[in-house]
Amino acid sequence: MIGNQTSPFHLFGIRHHGPGSARSLLHALEQLAPDCIVIEGPPEAEDLLSLIGDDMQPPVALLGYVPKQPSRAIYFPFAEFSPEWQALRYAKRQNIPVRFMDLPWENELALLEPESTEPALSTPDVDEEDLHPDPSASSPTSESQIAQDPLSALAKAAGYDDTERFWEHWVEQRRDSVDLFSSVQEAMCALREQQNSDDPQQTRNALREAFMRTVLREAKQAEFKKIAVVCGAWHVPALLPETWPSAKDDRTLLQPLPKTPVALTWIPWTYGRLAAGSGYRAGVESPGWYDFLWHQLPRATTAPSIISEGWLTRVARLLRDRGLDASAAQTVDAVRLADTLAALRGRPLPGLPELNDACLAIFCQGNPLPMQLIHTQLLIHDRLGQVPADTPGIPLYKDIVQQMKTLRLDPVVESTECILDLRKDLDLQRSRFLHCLSVLGIPFGQIQSVRSQGTFKEGWLLLWKPEFVLSIVERACFGTTLEEALRGFLRDQAKQATSIDPLAQLLPSLVFCDVPGAIDPILQRIQDLSALNQDLVAWAKAIPPFVQLARYGDVRNTTLDNIQPILDGIVSRLAIQLPAACNALNDEAAQDLLTHLVPVHTALVTLQNQTYLQHWLAALNTIASTSAAHGLLAGRAARWLFEQGADAPDRLAQRLHFALSSAAEPAQAAAWIEGLLHGGAHLLIHDEPLWSVLHRWIQELSPEHFLQVLPLLRRTTATFSTAESRQLLQRVRQPTAPVQSAGNVATSDPNAPLLQNVLHTWARVVGVPLPPPASQEAP
């Protein structure tokens, strides 16, 4: 046990977010029964400790921010398996005082660079020297690495990849876990002796440790008898009472510290943000695994195999839920393989690397994709913590409420309509604000279509719901201001996206949000994905929002230089891949593809970018000219080419002849004509050039050929309504003029008998009986 009769201090060097540490700490605290606990944390947070109770569920984080600049913030996350959290809970249960002894955040924030680019990610509260290194890094342990993660260095020296398992074996094999902390102390003293004092990191550590000693001195003066000191293992040697420098020295060291006002609160945290990959510098590799260990460790003392059995059973169940093969027999094999692997690697029990290797070889059959699933679902096992309702203000919430006040938007509880005139500055700001909220998933305003003229009007339906607070709190981990949270949220969305199309759908509203830097990660991700992705439909879906963006970007004077190259890439990729994708499709797939292509065509035509149109028309031309393309798509391509003036009427007639020639497969030909005419009869009725091409073609058909193609034509014309068919016939009677409402046939037409023939022909095409001639004078 550390500490003796003269010293009230009992030092517990722990590993942040280490379940093994947490378990032994808890055990040690129960044995010691301290009358005060001092924890490495910001002293300002002591007032907030009363909020810890049953309605606070980890993962949660202490958040400190500069009230006037909420973007300057520090987070101190706790998971259930964090030793500090367990110490706090213990103190709460025993009703003993807790002191925080780290350097106050008011100094910490002032010491941090004010214009730090990503302040939301700074976590100086957790020692950099306790960073959990990437376990896959197997480079020889250098001095600086020892300083970064002393326990890991020890674990490596003992032949463990996984510090937690090392700790666990180290701990569980000892009867008296208080002894463990004295070995930690010995080890750390030895490590720190070798340490290079020139390290700039040491300057700040010296400050922090000086402050820690100051707090400890105060605690001693307060006449506590048994003081449990919980700190990162690295600090233990500096806090040993026999090594303390004089109080005066510490005071001198702490004298010139700058200060900045700071506000603190609790916010819910997530395991995803606790994971090492999330930008949190003291992150742990796999929070889900640690969570599992924390809950299994008590049972593992008596039955160590429960860890691998329990974990692999979870893996098997997860894979089975997702429809992958994973039998109980395979679980047994996986447990055996993990055990043998551990034996081969000289470990007493399998750790996470062995378990992962076994999963890959047995459950995934060497295929790394299901391992991804295991990673996100089990290793990260993302979950959101919970904070009590009476927690002092969340900065993001405060920021939103503040903005609502400034913008004079009341949190109305009944649906209220609100028309914004975007030419006015206030309304433009309001629109931005509402767009930002809805992108964040806080639908305070629902956008409505406005009937009035012009694009400068925007209609919103406003309704404030109490549960928005929860959504805001949920988003609070992304940033402290609306803009920053939006940026963080979008960065997260971009990272999670596996397909470009949901990201592209976000783009138009992002332009309206007009938050600098928000759109960039999305664009970057779209670019990366579109280079990797061969999903034609995703590209097709992405184009309309992009085009919208390109157009509105101009209206709103937003510089969107970066979207051009991406759109370039997507359009040309689509144009290159499309012709091949139109081949060998069944009817359903072709129909599906066509529904995606129609908006693309409309968008590109609206945008009128000549390069794009050129690419696009070239692709269409290839489709229309290859007989391998599905008829529906080829027919539509032919129509679009004709409409865009890329094909002369003769060319369309030629295509029509070719597609419906007698050698053509009937189904293919019917699909072609459907592709051409789809969109209803009114197109044929009103589109003069198309009509005349079709009309001429029918007239030129030989009677035999006509009989052959008739069923094919009827397949499409049968979808016309009777009224449309009649109108079409009407159209025949008036070959040149647009359709009139009443049926007036030129009575004195010298070609009346011929016309009568044509009418009969068309009557057969559209499948309605020929109405009696409007004029009875005709013979």
Binding site: A329, L337, D357, A358, A361, C364, G366
Partner: protein, 359 residues
Amino acid sequence: MSTVLRQHAETQYAEELAALRKVDTHPKPPHWQLSPWAVATYLLGGKLDNGFDVSAKYIGPRRIIEIAVSTLATDRALLLLGVPGTAKTWVSEHLAAAISGDSTLLVQGTAGTAEEAVRYGWNYARLLTEGPSLQAIVQSPLLRGMEQGKIVRIEELTRIPSEVQDALITLLSEKTVYIPELGETIQAIKGFNVIATANDRDRGVNELSSALKRRFNTVVLPMPETLEEEVEIVQKRVASLGRVLELPNEPPALAEIRRLVTLFRELRAGKTLDGKTKLKSPSGTLSTAEAISVMNQGWALATHFGDGQIKASDLAAGLIGAVIKDPHQDPAIWKEYLETVVKEREGWKDLYRACREHA
């Protein structure tokens, strides 16, 4: 020197195996010649406590060999999967040699492999004279391995017709073969296990049924991760093959190997090593094994028709043969690569000219 073109692993590396056996104090599974630790050391190489150097047979991630060895120790069958040229057969041969001291129990899988090759056949002469008896049975390598408690290798498992693959399913789970004609069962003794190799890229293969896949632990052998690793592999193999083929001169210079491997890696990955230029990939796999054979061919050419020093012109013929596998697409891809990358690159002028001449 033996006149055998290619010696069995256990003969070629007999000295290393003996040295390992001498120092091996770790526990051995039944009928294993070496402990799992020693097997892993044999494959991955290392220095023994007595100063003996074990050469590395497999250059790549350590964990792959560890999983493979552990799998065999748990009596689950091992499936080595990978694209052509990732040393699947090489690893399986050395595993069998190290574990059983015998890499010859081998089923060479083909489209024509019949069930007799995995179960048993009959010696008809004896069958007719003596009637059905155990002596009249022609044992498959698998049956022999079961009786002797040894590792059996099945090469090219995916080329074996599906119905013959099915015969393996119960054999692997029950570890017995029933002979209805004799009413007898042959049971495997401890130490028996199966290493199968298969590649997942070639065409014309029989996909493994999921029932069979479940009976294997699958280990995917990756392509060499870094340029250095791949250069090392090519260098080692070229030198050792050269010895076997009795090529007299100095083995090829490292620079030449590095250039060849760079070219292979770039075409395989579809981009230049600096990641700046996108390239089209030809249809072939361009595996390390192919790089080795191109290098060897160049060496032989230089020895027999040149001055013994490998020049770009010696490599060009083999190189083009390795890259251009599809007569329609690949020539254009190769030409594009020559013109955009090889031509511009510092110190590659000779290679560019040589390839142009051969084209």
